[in-house]
């Protein structure tokens, strides 16, 4: 079964190819079958491979499929090869499964859009690139997929390109992630020049034997790879592109900017975890970046009025949790949260898509309200996903994954009380903004008339994801609650277990604090938005809190800062420098050929006899040259 591995990225790629070449000429039904169909087949193959992988594990719990040599230059010959182990298998399962559900949902969501086949072509290409990223056996192939998903993200954010704002958002996403990619490229070059290979397994092995713990090279490599991860996963200080990326169609936001692509950074760090273990400074930086991002993005999410922007900031904040887990060395906890987050965040976006579609493309939550009765399926699934995001204790998946991360942030050897405290405050913020969003959108007085009710293709994916948002957490439960650890067992062949430190707190205690934070957030937002809305006005009225609100609303002024620090100087310089000598050279070439053209066009008289005379004269000159010289 395992030899079918190459089909998993190849099928979506073939789908994208067919849709790009023949898409506009195909009937819409065919597009709606090909687009989700290839993902479904890839998903089925993934499941079959997963079953055979679990039943008869390949030697060393990893399977390599070498397809061909990419190129061979100066002793550097990267393969096009696929590498399957527990980590990439898990990610592949989630990507194909959630990807398929979102494709299915899109067949109805994008109905009536003139770019129907273009949309599915981009989506298939995205899934193909993402699978390449996950399954690539060397860092160069991973980088190919990495850039591929970046490209698709750019194309899909600017999908409705007639609107200038969407193009600006797409450009911003592309350029900001490029900043991270430069760091990552430098990291790859550093690894290759010092270790002589980019094959991930070889690389990790050589790093382990050649570099001592804490050596400066390992730290540099770790920081550079972290730079790439920070760009792609929208962490501090490169998080500014993700909220703007919500300009794309909502299924895109669900697939790319919530469930899969933005977790590529998490995957990269988990994949190269050996390197980060060798560089404690870089690993601490991962944890610090994660905790800072999750707090800042939580505050920013509290002040947004755009439904999708709230979800975007919440994504940034949840990926912050994953980075925190990676930073303290709780590798499988990070992947656990990745999985549950993929389920509930994709669902939240799909629900938001239904709501926005129903309300005449209105994004502001304060212009919605009372949608509970009119969109029951959207309401219930959204509520389940929201509870999972906020971490409703005992039932939801989010509680288990987040609780594990928070516990490890103190109990692991790299953990500390500060990290733990901030992470619990993060739970409070999450609960606060999640229920603010739910209460304002679905409860209260109806403010709009619902015109577009979702059909089955939109409802069923939501329901499936809602079920997964609940049961997805039972694969890994705390010791005092059944002590299931299927997930860690599955991943331990690839990712090492947590190194326990001197835990200052029991698992039960930590979970109780998380529960307390959740309940406080729920009660406060219930009081503020359901019982006594006037109090919100009273809180935001004074000048100080108004300023703070504005500050948080603008994402801590990061956009303003970058605009003044980087964008404006560059634009100014480009404006000043537009008549430099390079332009002069090209303009000179153009002027020269224009002059020659003016001279030569006078000979073009249209008189046949002149042409004949020209031929005669030319022949005489030519013969004369041959004879005389």
């Amino acid at each position: 079964m395992l030899h079918l591995l190459w089909l998993i990225p190849a099928l979506p790629f073939a789908g994208a190819f067919v849709l790009i070449v023949f898409g506009p000429r195909l009937p819409k039904r065919a597009v709606a079958i090909i687009g989700p169909g290839v993902i479904a087949v890839a998903g089925v193959i993934t499941i079959l491979i997963a079953i055979s992988f679990l039943r008869t594990p390949p030697p060393n719990h990893a399977y390599t499929q070498e397809l061909w040599t990419w190129f061979d230059v100066g002793g550097f010959h990267p393969h096009i090869g696929l590498y399957l182990d527990a980590l990439s298998l898990l990610m592949t399962l989630v990507v194909t499964f959630v990807g398929f559900l979102i494709h299915w949902y899109s067949t109805e969501f994008m109905d009536g859009d003139e770019g129907y086949s273009r949309f599915f072509a981009y989506m298939n290409l995205f899934v193909a690139a993402m699978l390449m990223l996950l399954l690539g056996d060397n860092l160069l192939l991973l980088f190919l997929g990495w850039e591929g998903v970046g490209l698709c993200s750019y194309l899909l954010i600017g999908f409705w390109y007639q609107d200038w704002a969407n193009c600006v958002a797409a450009r911003k996403a592309f350029i900001v992630t490029r900043v991270g990619d430069v760091a990552m490229t430098l990291g790859l070059l550093l690894l290759f020049t010092h270790l002589g290979t980019l094959d991930i397994q070889d690389l990790m092995h050589r790093a382990l034997t050649q570099w001592p713990v804490g050596s400066s090279l390992a730290v540099w490599a770790g920081f550079l790879l972290l730079g790439g991860a920070v760009g792609k996963s929208a962490q501090l200080p490169l998080q500014t592109w993700l909220p703007d990326a919500m300009a794309g169609p909502t299924p895109t936001s669900a697939l790319i900017h919530a469930a899969t692509m933005v977790t590529a950074g998490v995957y990269l760090i988990a994949r190269t975890h050996v390197l980060f273990s060798l560089a404690p400074a870089a690993q601490t930086a991962v944890a610090v970046v994660g905790i800072a991002t999750l707090i800042l993005a939580g505050f920013a999410a509290l002040t947004q009025w755009d439904l999708k922007r709230i979800l975007a900031y919440s994504t940034v904040s949840q990926i912050g949790y994953m980075f925190l887990a990676l930073g303290v060395g709780a590798w499988s906890a990070a992947l656990f949260h990745f999985m549950t987050h993929a389920f509930f965040k994709a669902l939240l976006f799909l629900g938001a898509g239904i709501v926005i579609n129903a309300c005449h493309h209105e994004h502001s939550i304060f212009k919605m309200g009372g949608l509970r009765k009119q969109l029951p399926v959207a309401f219930w699934t959204f509520l389940i996903a929201g509870c999972s995001l906020a971490g409703l204790p005992l039932i939801t998946a989010g509680f288990y994954s987040k609780g594990l991360i928070i516990y490890e942030s103190r109990a692991a050897a790299n953990g500390s009380t500060t990290l733990w405290t901030l992470a619990v405050i993060g739970v409070l913020l999450t609960s606060l903004y999640t229920f603010r969003m739910i209460f304002v959108t679905f409860f209260g007085e109806p403010k709009t008339h619902v015109e577009h009710k979702p059909g089955y293709s939109m409802k069923i994916p939501c329901i499936v994801l809602a079920v997964l948002s609940v049961i997805g957490g039972f694969v890994e439960t705390p010791r005092f609650l059944g002590d299931a650890h299927f997930f860690t067992d599955f991943l331990h062949t690839t990712l090492p277990a947590v190194i326990p430190g001197s835990a200052g707190m029991s698992e039960l205690g930590s979970e109780l604090w998380v529960t307390l934070a959740f309940v406080v957030g729920l009660v406060v937002s219930y009081y503020l938005y359901m019982v006594n809305p006037a109090l919100v006005e009273a809180i935001t009225a004074p000048a100080l809190s108004k300023a703070l609100h504005r500050f948080w609303f603008s994402d801590w002024g990061m956009d303003w800062l970058y605009d003044h620090l980087f964008v404006r100087p560059v634009v100014w310089f480009a404006h000043v420098d537009r008549r430099d000598f390079i332009d002069g050279f090209y303009n000179g070439c153009a002027a020269l050929s224009r002059g020659i053209y003016r001279g030569l066009r006078t000979t073009e008289t249209g008189r046949v006899r002149w042409y004949a005379a020209g031929i005669v004269f030319g022949s005489i000159v030519f013969v004369a040259i041959v004879l005389l010289v």
Binding site: E604, T605, R609, A612, V616
Partner: protein, 87 residues
């Protein structure tokens, strides 16, 4: 004889006469081949002449068809009057 044809091509304005001048030039070249063949006792010269003859026949067919079309359009065979393609 070649020069005669060339001069005819350059000074004549009637397309029919220009075509005839080209024929004269082709025949001049053919004659040169035949003479050269006779001088060195080689059959190649005559073979080349047959070649020239056949290509001349094809050329005349195409040329006359074009002249016919031009006459239909412009009601004239004056090469200078039909100078439409100015740069």
């Amino acid at each position: 004889m070649f020069a005669l044809g060339l001069t005819g091509l350059l000074v004549r304005r009637n397309l029919m006469l220009m075509l005839m001048s080209i024929e004269v030039m082709l025949n001049a070249a053919g004659l040169a081949f035949v003479v050269a063949g006779a001088r060195w006792m080689q059959p190649d010269g005559q073979i080349m002449f047959i070649f020239i003859l056949s290509s001349a026949a094809a050329e005349v067919a195409v040329g006359l068809a074009l002249v016919l079309q031009l006459y239909h359009h412009h009601k004239s065979l004056d090469a200078d009057a039909i100078s439409e393609m100015r740069g």
